[in-house]
Symmetry: C2
Subunit: 105 residues, 2 copies
DNA sequence: AGAATAGGTGACCAAATGGTCACATGTCAA
DNA sequence: TTGACATGTGACCATTTGGTCACCTATTCT
């Protein structure tokens, strides 16, 4: 689950797609394709990965497929993972302290 | 730069390594190897990736190499990227609103 | 000095990934 | 209905990635 999210975020093209949707939500495949230096098929594949990770949700409107940003998984990554490492500077200082103590021996 | 960080975080083994260092900072390669179901070489490769991304810093002590967690890059990912998507629920609601409006037509 | 220990290097392999294309399906509009 | 448009599918290919191994260097201990 969370693994899919990290995997999806690893590719710069996919983060770019999230950026595009952040600027304008609900874009179609064709619209996104025109903004990226890549064929439609490449974009479609990346969107599929993003959708599989839950980072993008879709809705069909006739022959079009609209893509929407879903902030929930990123929120989860933040709450359950990033904050663990990014927030506790105290822990880092503890490590540094133990580090220096060790050096004294 | 930030790309290396995302790449590094994409692999579960590497996140596991960060977890191990989070529990006990400054471990050697051999110590980490024993905690993972993988050969020393595999672990060494992953550590190299983490080091390349700046997520882990090292210091030599004799023939040993100590590995320390560096929270700075994760902090940057959080500040410059994650918060952009995770925080603005307002934006998500705006998108939803526009969404519904579009549906009415 | 000699043996054991900690780590590094480069080759190598299987699998996953990123990207393209030919072709098929479904939908709109004249 | 005919043609144009939006998207989906599966094959295919080059590159990267994750992992192992044989072998080498450097350091410690006796």
């Amino acid at each position: 689950m969370i693994d899919d999210v990290f995997r999806a975020l690893a590719d710069p093209t996919r983060r770019r797609l999230l950026d595009e949707l952040f600027e304008e939500d609900g874009q179609t495949l064709s619209a996104l394709e025109q903004r990226l230096p890549m064929s439609r098929f490449g974009v479609a594949k990346h969107l599929k990965v993003l959708e599989g990770a839950g980072l993008v949700t879709t809705r069909r409107r006739g022959r079009e497929k609209l893509h929407f940003l879903n902030p929930v998984p990123i929120r989860e990554v933040h709450d359950r993972w990033v904050s663990k490492y990014a927030e506790p500077w105290a822990a880092a200082l503890t490590g540094l302290k133990r580090d220096l103590e060790e050096e004294e021996r």
